[in-house]
Symmetry: C2
């Protein structure tokens, strides 16, 4: 029964990631330069931002080392168009895809016990006070974060 | 352990709803007429749309009758500005709040078994083939849907 709960959560994540894949896949480097609305983020920036956030999930969920720490400065610490894009469109799309594959294949092996372990950014003390600060909470938060930006990306079509 | 899984999921829903509450609460009727971007949906339309979608969760999760079926025609079947708004801003905000309260208080009482029951829009046959088409799947889907539109609403600020 627990397994089914967890499988349902992972299915929801996979759905959101695959919807983003469908939006990004057909766009070339030039099309990714388009903004979601006048004077708002470029699609390229959001792809970098989402890749950086998902890349950070690897250590946060205790499932691996970061693959693309070079994205943080451009897509997390700074707003769009402050710094130049460190990767080409093709390389960024490849990074996005590889990071998500790494996450999905790791969490598909998680037991219920794994899901309920604390994530690596919460202290033992805080976790003992609030056991909902677990890996599942991070995973749901990042699924919602991806949905948040999917809504913005949909406006650019 | 199951309870903690389920509690984490409900916490995520509450977080998303409360972020939307914070965005809508300070806006009066005139401010809600603002569009999220040029020629895109008004905030008012999205509030109506989200209220209608959440209202439909009541029968879908088997937790109650619809409270505001009058919203569907305007905010689900038609795009923005096709029909006039059936409720005032104050009444729509009240409906939004009441519907969410009804959902949250019902699902907080759900056992793991309740979460894994089929939702009311899936047939027995389809559910037996795919048991992830359960109430939890609907709940996660609607949480993501709310996040999707939160991302758009954030652009209007």
């Amino acid at each position: 029964m627990d397994d089914l709960l967890v499988k349902t959560v992972v299915t929801s994540w996979k759905q959101i990631v695959s919807r983003l894949d469908e939006r990004f896949a057909p766009l070339d480097g030039e099309q990714l330069q388009k903004q979601i609305a006048p004077n708002k983020n470029r699609l390229f920036y959001l792809l970098g931002h989402l890749t950086a956030v998902h890349d950070r999930m690897l250590p946060l969920l205790g499932i691996g080392e970061r693959q693309h720490p070079e994205l943080d400065e451009v897509y997390l610490s700074n707003s769009d168009r402050k710094l130049s894009d460190p990767l080409s469109a093709a390389d960024l799309k490849k990074a996005w895809s590889e990071v998500n594959t790494a996450i999905t294949s790791a969490v598909e092996k998680f037991s219920v016990d794994d899901w309920l372990k604390q994530h690596t950014a919460v202290s033992d003390e805080d976790f003992s006070k609030d056991p909902t600060r677990n890996r599942l909470a991070v995973f749901l938060n990042r699924t919602n974060h991806a949905s948040f930006h999917t809504g913005q990306i949909a406006l650019a079509q």
